[in-house]
């Protein structure tokens, strides 16, 4: 892998940075607890927040690479055009899900604005904001993938 190639995948690069970040914080906690015998109170909150952000940035990359886990039984059984139509129908349903998440996310962000985590006081809405934000990116990618699939089937 060329390291330079990573910069062409910013979603995954950010996800990797979060992964590295929470590994460093977890290591710090282990060292501080076992060497200095003083447990840190804030690490669990920060690490849990980083995992949520890592996951949803990573999911954008998963969708971009079309590598969501799915049963591929019909891919071997159906001809390309009916398969493309079936998958387009699936994409429409996925778009409906993503729009629902974006609308729900808008409400969640305003509803949870006053809630904060106990140790660090991180606003809860900043933890969950990545869910609707990632959904906006996913929406664009699902549309692009659907368009490409239809073009390939009829090429």
């Amino acid at each position: 892998m060329k390291l330079r190639r990573l910069f062409k995948e910013p979603d995954l690069l950010i996800s990797m940075a979060f992964l590295l970040g929470f590994f460093v914080i977890c290591s710090l906690q282990v060292v501080v607890r076992f060497v200095l015998t003083v447990p840190l109170s804030w690490t669990e909150e920060l690490v849990a927040a980083l995992v949520i952000w890592m996951t949803f940035f990573g999911v954008i990359a998963v969708e971009r690479k079309r590598s969501q886990i799915r049963v591929e039984l019909l891919e071997d059984l159906l001809p390309p055009k009916p398969l493309a139509l079936l998958y387009t129908a699936f994409d429409v349903a996925i778009l409906a899900c993503l729009i629902a998440i974006i609308i729900g996310g808008w409400h969640t962000i305003s509803e949870t604005g006053y809630q904060r985590t106990p140790a660090l006081g991180i606003p809860i809405n900043s933890l969950v904001a990545i869910v609707p934000l990632a959904s906006i990116a996913l929406l664009v990618i699902v549309l692009r993938n659907a368009w490409q699939r239809l073009r390939e089937a009829w090429a």
Partner: protein, 430 residues
């Protein structure tokens, strides 16, 4: 008690669309979204469940165990392990078949999943065995089936998932998986022994104690990994997440300092793979929690409990029914779904109604569902092996089919002889 028929219909509909090829994570979101809209509930529930279900410190163990496993694989330990186990058991009738099983046993102590075992060792094992004249189908069967030890011997990603979902002690589950892991290896080796004798497979020449000792020293650092993880958790020193962190630190130490095989590029590749695969898995986990919430709101667990308690009085029959249902679900669904949705529904019934030990039930459930990795249509391990060998999926499945016998026998033994699972956790005070 009867569940909301609308919820039950939605759940069955989502299983059908999953089989038709709808991405699994989105199928669970779609089912939940329809339920929320039709019951006039706020859409913000979707975001709450998706985002905050991952807000758990224990969940962090999942990407970290993946990280440790990938680092170990990247450091080139597969060859060292194969070399060591070759010197250890290569002269037993069945030869490299036993080497294959024991390599998986050793690798399982670092990887935590079937897929990691197949991806990390599969190619080396397949090439080594077929080059020495072993039948390719037999080789595929032994390679895939021995990878079933991965999710049973600690550290185990499916056990972390099960522990989080069912509220069972993860340390207890890890300890409970030790003897069953050895049992699976033993049952496979018995099968390999008889096939080896029947087909007259060539065995390796005994290379002597010195060669065994040297190969052991070459493979020794990674061999300590399971002892560090299990020992630390059994002694109460580490939580599962801390054990996973220590496993990554240990893997970094081995690959960067002891073996000096970890380059910057290799490290970036590992991070890349782990970020991608753990995001994919954790997204399914989040959607499964959302789906589980819908099931609970629709009173599906209560319906399931009432149906089971009304028809089954014996714990033996209950376990048998669970095993059959999980074998079917493990075959048609991604393993995380039955682990995260069905397990939390069944675990309280198993304990409260049938008096089953939660660790015993958990280990049996995990292995039971993991056998689905070897059956179409969604046995991911079959796809990895197909890519390694270039054979059709059907041929790979037919190759592993005879090996399901020893695996299912091991499952039945651990289900009906609970002490095989509970002996070590009891001794450690769980």
């Amino acid at each position: 008690m009867s569940a909301d028929p609308f919820t039950v219909t939605l759940i069955f509909a989502s299983i059908i669309v999953i089989i038709m090829g709808f991405p699994i994570a989105y199928a669970m979101i779609l089912c939940s979204m329809i339920y929320i809209v039709f019951n006039d509930l706020p859409l913000s529930l979707l975001v709450h469940e998706l985002g905050l279900s991952l807000n758990s410190f224990t969940m962090i163990a999942i990407p970290l165990f993946m990280f440790a496993g990938k680092l170990m694989t990247a450091s080139g330990i597969s060859d060292r392990i194969f070399d060591f186990t070759g010197n250890l058991v290569g002269r037993v009738p069945g030869g490299l078949g036993h080497v294959n099983v024991t390599s998986s046993l050793v690798f399982a102590g670092m990887s935590g999943s079937t897929l990691a075992d197949v991806a990390g060792l599969g190619e080396i094992e397949y090439k080594a065995m077929t080059r020495k004249g072993y039948d390719p189908d037999f080789t595929i069967g032994v390679t895939l089936s021995s990878a079933a030890i991965g999710p049973i011997l600690p550290p185990s990603l499916p056990m972390v998932l099960y522990g989080v979902a069912a509220g069972t002690s993860i340390s207890g589950l890890f300890l409970g998986g030790i003897l069953p892991g050895l049992l699976i290896a033993f049952s496979l080796m018995v099968y390999v022994f008889f096939v080896g004798l029947a087909r007259g497979y060539r065995v390796d020449v005994w290379a002597g104690w010195r060669a065994l000792w040297i190969s052991f020293l070459r493979a020794a650092p990674p061999l300590f990994t399971p002892f560090i993880i299990v020992g630390g958790m059994a002694m109460g020193w580490f939580s599962p997440t801390e054990a996973a962190t220590v496993a990554v630190l240990w893997a970094l130490f081995i690959s960067a300092i002891v073996y000096r095989t970890l380059t910057t590029t290799a490290f970036a590749e590992v991070l890349y793979d782990v970020a991608l695969s753990s995001s994919r898995l954790l997204f399914i986990v989040a959607t499964a929690f959302l789906f589980g919430w819908v099931s609970t709101f629709g009173e599906v667990p209560q319906m399931l409990a009432a149906a089971i308690e009304g028809n089954i009085t014996s714990p033996v029959v209950f376990l048998l029914v669970c095993i059959v249902v999980n074998l079917i679900l493990g075959a048609v669904l991604e393993n995380a779904i039955p682990l995260l949705i069905l397990a939390p529904m069944l675990a309280p019934i198993a304990e409260a109604t049938y008096g089953l030990d939660p660790i015993h039930f958990g280990v049996v459930m995990v292995f039971n569902i993991m056998i689905g990795q070897f059956t179409p249509p969604i046995g991911l391990s079959l796809f990895v092996m197909r890519d390694i060998t270039g054979f059709s999926l059907g041929r790979v499945f037919m190759a592993v089919l005879p090996f399901l016998g020893p695996l299912i026998i091991s499952l039945l033994i651990m289900a009906f002889v609970p002490s095989i699972v509970t002996a070590i956790p009891r001794a450690a005070g769980f």
